[in-house]
């Protein structure tokens, strides 16, 4: 059985001490680093297939490590562990070329699910969809910097939440997106009956995209779980 090489970077030893054995048992070949400088050295010597990177660290923080790797043309998949759940922080993480992010505190099973999804999605040596400025899926075009969406030449009027939802779906195609995960990723925090809020926004998005829920081109319902972006996404 294949054991992907994983580098876990966090300055909090309580986290690495408990998380590393869990990830090993989950089938990964794990090495840890306690700060950003060590992480950069390990990337060269250990050559991981995926990096789990904490943002807040002494010496060199996670964001800077990510920037240096991407500037050097290293596109090893990276999942950021953010402490601050702010929307701006999350958007910045993706813009700077992270493949995904997870808010602390998280369920370790959720982390392994994300790792597998990112590894499945990874295109060796190429920037992740999450770092692309523009994303397309057939006639649909989304400009992440301008925060605008078009179908062919027609621009869609979306609320900021619906835009963020579409952006997240496009950067995570063909993945089951549970309502809880969408809440965490797009809303930043859970709401009571928040899953209803997700359904309302997905309905709004489907209306705007003119997507038939029973025969969807874009957003598929995964019964009892959540949604999946069904189209093929390209970075432009």
């Amino acid at each position: 059985m294949e054991t992907p090489k994983l580098l876990l970077v966090d300055d909090e030893t309580a986290i690495t001490d408990n998380l590393a054995p869990f990830l090993k048992r989950s089938g990964f070949d794990v090495t840890t680093a306690a700060d950003g400088e060590q992480a950069l050295k390990q990337v060269t010597s250990f050559q991981p297939e995926i990096i789990i990177l904490d943002v807040m660290m002494p010496k060199l923080d996670g964001r800077e490590v990510l920037r240096r790797l991407r500037n050097a043309g290293n596109w090893t998949p990276i999942i950021l562990l953010t402490q601050v759940g702010e929307a701006t922080e999350r958007a910045m993480a993706l813009e700077e070329g992270a493949d995904d992010y997870l808010n602390k505190p998280f369920d370790p099973h959720e982390l392994t699910a994300r790792i597998r999804a990112v590894l499945r999605r990874a295109r060796p040596g190429k920037p992740p969809l999450a770092a692309a400025r523009q994303l397309t899926c057939g006639d649909l075009r989304l400009d992440r910097q301008a925060r605008r969406v078009w179908i062919e030449e027609r621009e869609l009027a979306l609320t900021p939440k619906a835009f963020a939802l579409l952006e997240y779906a496009l950067t995570h195609p063909d993945e089951v997106l549970t309502r809880e995960r969408l809440l965490d990723a797009v809303w930043g925090w859970d709401y009571p009956v928040g899953t209803r809020a997700v359904d309302t926004r997905v309905a709004e998005l489907r209306r705007a995209l003119d997507d038939d829920p029973s025969n969807p081109c874009y957003i598929e319902t995964v019964p009892g779980v959540g949604y999946r972006f069904a189209g093929t996404v390209e970075s432009a």
Partner: protein
């Protein structure tokens, strides 16, 4: 200019009798004195005039000086008074902030203590218990306590974020929002035996829209309903009422629960505050603080009225578009 007119007036009026006296003296001397004495009289008059003018001018200068000194002292005293007041107000505000902080830390300490104690006890059990059933039970209990702390941390983050994160401002149909919140509350199994009603105006016109974040406003109304549910019993009534009041929408969530003791009322919106009546009822103590933060971010106000044994009414006031 206004400040100077009394001085101008004084400068013109005060020497007037002297000038008049000198003029009379000159005229009289011309009329009655012999020709050769005229110049002597004139010299005497001029000397007298010079003497009077000099004296008056000195007096005026002296008065101006004294008044300037007095005004300067008075201004200084005022300034000192204002500064003293400002310092006192700042000291009071910082003392209140420090007291708020101490209170918050005491409550946070209290909220964390119980789950942490439970976790430590659970871990001690786990290390010593040979039975697999007990181990599983302990693990479940530890997980519950960890989730409790996670929820607390998540709610604290929500509160902190609410202060800074940009609000999504779209026109929110409050009638639809209230209907949905009431429907969600009615669907909860715990509220099946409460009477829940919603009253919103339709005539002559429905409620106007509010510019805001649907999800946050929904959370605020839902938190109030959930609170009312927690503090009421079988057969109690929950009423949601909304009406327009000038440029505001007023939303009331009322219940026939036990009411809130008067001494708790001023504190119910504070973070982690749990009144006497709230002990033993699950919750983080952050629900109402979140409601207040959301409504204030939308430019509105919150208030509460309650009578022991009769019930409570929470009021939200939101500016319309």
């Amino acid at each position: 200019m206004r400040r100077h007119w009394p001085w101008l007036f004084a400068a013109l009026v005060v020497p007037a009798p002297a000038v008049l006296g000198i003029a009379t003296s000159v005229m009289l001397s011309r009329a009655i004195a012999p020709e050769e004495m005229q110049s002597v009289y004139l010299q005497a008059d001029v000397a007298a005039l010079a003497w009077i003018c000099g004296s008056l001018f000195s007096l005026l200068l002296g008065a101006v000086f004294l008044i300037a000194v007095w005004e300067h002292r008075r201004d200084n005293a005022w300034r000192a008074e204002i500064e003293r007041n400002q310092t006192q107000a700042a000291a009071q505000a910082s003392e209140e902030a420090a007291e708020d902080r101490r209170r918050f830390l005491r409550r946070l300490d209290h909220e964390l203590k119980n789950p942490l104690t439970a976790i430590r006890a659970g871990l001690a059990n786990l290390a010593e218990s040979p039975s697999q059933d007990v181990q599983q039970e302990t693990l479940n209990s530890v997980e519950t306590q960890i989730l409790r702390i996670s929820h607390l941390v998540a709610d604290l983050r929500k509160l902190a974020e609410l202060e800074t994160r940009p609000l999504e401002r779209t026109p929110v149909d409050m009638t639809a929002l209230l209907e949905e919140a009431v429907n969600v509350a009615k669907d909860l199994p715990e509220t099946a035996d409460r009477r829940i009603t919603l009253t919103v105006p339709q005539a002559p016109w429905p409620l106007p829209h509010v510019a805001g974040d649907w999800d946050l406003l929904f959370l605020a109304v839902y938190n109030l309903l959930d609170n009312a549910r927690k503090f009421t019993q079988t057969g109690d009534t929950l009423e949601v009422r909304a009406f327009e009041d000038g440029a505001m929408i007023v939303i009331e969530v009322a219940d026939t629960g036990p009411g809130i003791p008067e001494e708790d009322l001023p504190h119910v919106w504070e973070e982690l505050y749990r009144g006497k009546g709230a002990r033993g009822i699950p919750g983080s103590g952050l629900g109402l603080a979140l409601v207040r933060a959301i409504i204030e971010r939308h430019g509105g106000q919150t208030s509460v009225r309650s009578r022991a044994g009769q019930g409570t009414v929470f009021t939200l006031r939101l500016p319309t578009t």
